[in-house]
């Protein structure tokens, strides 16, 4: 296997390009993705290579971008739409949650909507309250939608290729601070199935479930814990819908301790759902309370100093583990 180091954003671009070459029905649409080549350069060079019909710049009309993607999917194409910031998703929430996600069901299986909505969250980039939010847990209430949260360049590429080939609407949430992060990515074709968590590190004393950016922080935390003689297992959920609960529960049954680390607000967040699901499935195996490492219940501050305090990180994960392993 040929391994190269490329960035998260390059990995995403490779996935888009390969799928566009593989399937002429794959088309991209969104704000600033063509002539401007994408605000985060994920779509760089694609307009030149594939032309304006397949890399379509849109006006600032999030509801219409999502709605048009639905229509394109119903017409038999494979749209990959981009919503520039996750904070703009509420503008197209009706199309995503109430239209796309329910079409197959309420048509009794007559319709399918194979579309991808790519977006990113920018917590940690001093983007303030309205350009930093991480809200995947909202979509836990939306059966019919798949939600993907890649944490490495390798996963970003393999998961995006699967998302594009999927027959359902997929919300693909990228992490803004990771765009420039590098990691090994095979040169050969590969895909990563949706719905499979990944054990990023084996361990015995505690299970740390990480989401998106916090997978990397969880791995740093695991190294620090190792110095103190604590062996932590790190699991990356990779997709929130479907959620691979089995891998998490299997791990918790061995370690008897669980930390969930995610960049969303703690109340009603991803950690809450995973905690509840693990309690239902493995209550008897737990030796300690489950701890959620997440953001406090306030909007996101702009002040760089305050934002650093606001964000979860490896140290906070270590503290949480120390709390439950006395």
């Amino acid at each position: 296997m040929r391994l190269r180091e490329i960035t998260y954003s390059e990995a995403l671009r490779e996935a888009l390009r390969e799928e566009m070459l593989r399937d002429p029905n794959v088309i991209l649409l969104g704000e600033e993705i063509g002539v401007f080549q994408g605000v985060y350069r994920v779509t760089r060079g694609l307009l030149e290579e594939f032309g304006p019909d397949r890399v379509r710049d849109t006006p600032i009309s999030e509801a219409a971008i999502a709605g048009a993607a639905i229509g394109l999917a119903m017409a038999g194409l494979k749209p990959v739409a981009e919503i520039m910031y996750m904070d703009f998703l509420p503008i197209c929430m009706d199309q995503l949650a109430t239209q796309a996600a329910k079409m197959r069901f309420m048509s009794g299986g007559q319709l399918k909507v194979p579309m991808v909505l790519r977006t990113q969250y920018s917590l940690g980039r001093q983007h303030g309250s309205q350009h930093s939010q991480f809200t995947p847990s909202w979509f836990l209430q939306v059966p019919g939608l798949k939600v993907v949260l890649p944490s490495t360049p390798h996963d970003a590429k393999g998961l995006l290729k699967s998302a594009i080939r999927d027959q359902n609407p997929v919300l693909f949430v990228e992490c803004g601070v990771l765009y420039k992060s590098k990691g090994p990515v095979p040169g050969e074709e590969y895909v990563i199935p949706l719905g499979q968590a990944d054990v990023k590190r084996k361990g015995e004393d505690v299970t740390i479930v990480g989401v998106s950016r916090l997978v990397g922080e969880s791995l740093i935390a695991a190294k620090k814990l190792e110095e103190n003689g604590i062996s932590a297992e790190v699991i990356d959920i990779r997709t929130l819908q479907p959620l691979d609960l089995e891998t998490i529960v299997e791990s918790v049954k061995r370690t008897s301790r669980l930390i969930v680390a995610s960049d969303d607000v703690k109340t009603g967040g991803i950690g809450s759902e995973i905690s509840a699901a693990v309690l239902e499935a493995a209550f008897d195996y737990l030796d300690a309370p489950i701890i959620r490492v997440a953001c406090p219940d306030t909007p996101i501050p702009f002040s760089p100093a305050l934002e650093q305090m606001y964000m979860p990180n490896a140290d906070k994960i270590v503290q949480a583990v120390d709390q439950i392993i006395g």
């Binding site: 709605g67 639905i70 119903m74 048509s107």
Partner: protein, 314 residues
């Protein structure tokens, strides 16, 4: 034309009775009584392979585009024999892709961006199919309407926009909700061709739709058709619509699209009373058979229901 209009009329009169008198149907249902000319005139101007994106007031759209009455009725009864297997209900009965009824939304205004996407898809596939989207006067105050209309005009998509201006958005009169003198004016501001048509005149709707359909098919130019009409009943089947002035209701009842069309056909000797009676009888029988079919069916199993959340395959 008359036969289709009669089918919709009899279907909906039966639905109203099933709700209000017989108590056999429950849930929200939005009748298009008085608006049949728009569904029928528009659909007759389309080809069978053309596609529609409509709304929760969609019984007429589904039937006019060719969905079998018995499947629609079974859907209203929530039976597995319905076109959406009883999972959609009245508000989504106009989802029957086999006859081009692609989608029906229950959220006001939301169909317009979707129609834009379907239009773009058909244009990129060079299929020659066009898209007709239907919505009420209430939809024109939503953001989705404006975002969608802009895209359709900007990208010159083969889409016909039928605004069924039935004068009331729920109980709110058009004048109390829309700032511009006409809705067509709003579409014109987006650089779109517009036609204001008497929505109670099936021939007028057909002619306007035909012109628009040819323009969409041959030149990929959209047209906005504001069809002026009136809800003979209230917003939903349980709404008596008694917030409307009696004189206004009476005046519009005289403009009933079926009564006036029959009269016109008879006056011009294009049809005989016997032929009308025959059409009435045939459509009445079709509706009765649809009810019998619907009653025979059973609901989907709960386990099968769960299989329709996600599509298989990747």
């Amino acid at each position: 034309m008359l036969q289709k209009m009669l089918l919709i009329r009899k279907f909906e009169e039966e639905v109203e009775e099933l709700f209000l008198v017989k108590g056999m149907l429950i849930g929200p249902s939005h009748l298009c009584l008085g608006q049949e000319a728009i569904s029928v005139g528009a659909m007759m101007a389309l080809e069978p392979s053309d596609l529609t994106v409509t709304t929760y007031r969609g019984h007429g759209h589904a039937l006019a585009k060719g969905a079998p009455a018995k499947l629609c009725m079974a859907e209203l009864f929530g039976k597995s024999t319905g076109n959406c297997k009883g999972l959609g209900g009245s508000m989504h009965v106009a989802i029957y892709p086999k006859t081009g009824s692609l989608y029906a939304t229950a959220i006001v205004g939301s169909g317009i961006p979707i129609a834009a996407g379907v239009g773009l898809g058909e244009k990129q596939k060079k299929s020659k199919n066009i898209v007709a989207t239907f919505f009420g006067d209430g939809a024109v105050n939503t953001g989705a309407f404006h975002e969608g209309v802009n895209l359709i005009a900007l990208w010159k998509l083969p889409v016909l926009l039928f605004c069924e201006n039935n004068q009331y958005a729920m109980s709110t009169p058009f004048r109390r909700a829309v700032s511009s003198p006409s809705i067509a004016e709003r579409a014109r501001a987006y650089g779109m061709q517009t036609i204001i048509v008497n929505g109670n005149d099936v021939v007028a709707v057909f002619v306007a739709a035909k012109v628009a359909a040819e323009r969409a098919r041959n030149e990929s130019e959209p047209t906005f058709l504001e069809c002026i009409t009136y809800k003979m009943k209230g917003h939903g089947v349980y709404d008596k619509g008694d917030y409307r002035p009696k004189e206004e209701v009476a005046e519009w009842l005289e403009r009933d699209p079926i009564l006036t069309f029959k009269k016109r056909l008879l006056e011009n000797r294009l049809i005989t009373q016997a032929e009308i009676d025959e059409a009435e009888g045939a459509t009445q029988r079709e509706v009765e058979e649809a009810v019998a079919f619907a009653m025979q069916g059973s609901p989907l199993s709960f386990d099968e229901m769960k299989t329709y959340v996600y599509a298989e395959g990747g």
